[in-house]
Symmetry: C2
Subunit: 236 residues, 2 copies
Amino acid sequence: MTRKKVKLAFIINDSARKATFKKRKKGLMKKVSELSTLCGIDACAIIYSPYDPQPEVWPAPLGVQKVLSKFRRMPELEQSKKMVNQESFLRQRIQKAKEHLTKQRKDNREKEMTQLMFQYLSADKVMHNINMVDLNDMAWMIDQYLKDINRRVEVLTKNAQGQPQMVAPQVVTNVVAKVEDNNGQGSHGHVLDMNLDVMQKQNWFMNLMNNGGGDEAPPMGDVNHQNGFWPSPFFH
Amino acid sequence: MTRKKVKLAFIINDSARKATFKKRKKGLMKKVSELSTLCGIDACAIIYSPYDPQPEVWPAPLGVQKVLSKFRRMPELEQSKKMVNQESFLRQRIQKAKEHLTKQRKDNREKEMTQLMFQYLSADKVMHNINMVDLNDMAWMIDQYLKDINRRVEVLTKNAQGQPQMVAPQVVTNVVAKVEDNNGQGSHGHVLDMNLDVMQKQNWFMNLMNNGGGDEAPPMGDVNHQNGFWPSPFFH
DNA sequence: CCTGCTATGTATAAAAG
DNA sequence: TCTTTTATACATAGCAG
């Protein structure tokens, strides 16, 4: 039931290695044949193993010979061009893994913020002890949500403009900055305070969110945060 | 979003073919490298295409040369032994597809019978117009279910034998044979009748069921069907 | 054309038999 | 050990930008 992610290293256990070899060899041969059929190209695969006295090849040996003769006809130097060698291949995979990690962190951060936001919305009283970084990130995310809502309202309004007297409600909100001090003994006001200076320093999260639903630049220097009101998206 | 099962034939559309080629080439190279790493064996893949001036290979060209020299060292005749050629490969895949079809038919038949059986069990009155083949198949399936139940009862009884006075209930049933004539004007009794002779001729379904939960031979000539009682599975 | 996303199909590790 | 089954991870077709 494939519980491990397969650690891409030599399989120590003999029987497991053999089992894996047989399965993967079969799968690989199938892939080669499919690629050849689907795209009408020449390809071959040759696999040596201690389990078979002769190498397994695809396609028929004559086809392999044909491909090989083409290959050997090339000068050594030419062969190195445009080829995927082990080192560059590994480099690519490492790079991809790093990108994946970054993306995961973004997703995680976004989920954390969403959860925090709903915790806040459902709390009877104001939540203390939210650190400034979280507060900033969450505020920016709320910004994005609100902008999205206004955008949708605008679209709906335009679609319904044939109907006179229709006035789209405008979503505005009031995200005011006031950050409590560390021991929670500060202000107990029920309004979230935000410190613009700190926020401007926190561009990490903004970068994070750029991939998500947002389609605009991060709110660096966006003065809307200061008065807490968004300008109407209408009539722009 | 991958809605079609990919019909394993040359892709006519040029751009689609190229896109598929690029994706699958990458996937294939990854598979080759994984196989080589996981199982510690020598393998190579060479792919020609109109998109790349040079063939794509894995691993580095020197590694390919190494594998190729091994390969060319073999006599032509030896090369043909143990190898997967295109024809045998296709044969294998056709055979596998046929087996899959047969298995699907078995599963479908079993589901039909189960549904029919529960329809019967939940009907207020006896159901007419069940044809003889269905009736036989269903009766045999019921047999299998009952045998399975008895087997489980036996296991439970053995597990509980430390407790004196414990008597396992024995599941018996009464599947008596009486098949209505085609126009449904025959007997209206509430007991399923079975014709042993006909049943013995219907070994198709028995073959079907042998792969499923059954672990015994088909009930060919099993006289238990005549009196409708199973001998106790205990003390065997 | 390429890049990225997501739903779906395929490959396969592990567990059962 | 091999085969079959099952659940999970991976590959990728089609689409959108």
